[in-house]
């Protein structure tokens, strides 16, 4: 299991490939299902064009809660492994924001756990988005419902 904050752009597919290469040494042939979610920065929100975004977090609390969310998922479902990477700092449109991936024997638990991780993250992990639009900067007031 790996949980990580990234201050610079990352490539979710490359991260997945690298992580899975290590995972395959231990788990080759054991997992039948991988459910993955990638959140990407859009260039629009609430009807406005967004030029840039900054992701603020609460150092210490954010890492602790991300870790706990993944551990909760692993207690709730029989996961073989999980990977969670979340950006902080300045993002451009089309930059990946978050990657959540879980590996399990069968698909039901993979889908459920991946969804759970994202919903928990969206509602509990202390991150805040500030968008830069033509009208100036603004804080995103709340996340869209899951």
């Amino acid at each position: 299991m790996k949980v990580e904050l990234r201050a610079t752009p990352f490539d979710p597919l490359l991260e997945l490939g690298c992580y899975q290469a290590g995972l395959d040494e231990r788990l080759s042939g054991r997992y039948g299902a991988t459910a993955i979610f990638i959140g990407t920065m859009r260039d629009f929100n609430d009807g406005d064009t967004v030029q840039e975004m900054t992701l603020e977090h609460y150092p210490g609390m954010t890492e602790r809660h991300l870790q706990r969310i993944v551990e909760s998922a692993a207690r709730e479902w029989p996961l073989l492994d999980a990977l969670l990477i979340h950006r902080i700092g300045a993002l451009q449109p089309n930059d990946p924001i978050v990657l959540a991936a879980v590996w399990s024997a069968q698909r039901a638990e993979a889908f459920a756990a991946c969804r759970f991780i994202m919903e928990e993250l969206k509602s509990k992990a202390p991150f805040w988005k500030r968008e830069r639009t033509a009208a100036g900067p603004r804080w995103v007031a709340h996340n869209t419902p899951g």
Partner: protein
């Protein structure tokens, strides 16, 4: 008794500062910490609080050495 207070995101911008420090003579709740520091500013609706990086209710008692944080709804992911 020493308590550190942190503010994040839009709340920090609104208050104009990121941190405070309080040395109350008696034990306070989270709500009382806010009221002591910002007597003229009601806690904005939907504001969340944490004590030592765990979500906390307004009624939770703050202890010596605790870190209290106030912040708006989270918007990660």
């Amino acid at each position: 008794m020493a308590v550190r207070i942190k503010y994040f995101a839009s709340l920090r911008d609104r208050l104009g500062r990121a941190e405070d420090r309080l040395d109350p003579a008696v034990a306070l709740t989270v709500a009382e910490v806010w009221a002591t520091l910002w007597p003229d500013t009601p806690l904005p609706p939907n504001t969340l609080a944490a004590v030592n990086m765990e979500y906390a209710s307004p009624e939770q008692t703050v202890r010596d050495g605790d870190e209290v944080a106030f912040f708006p709804p989270v918007t990660g992911g």
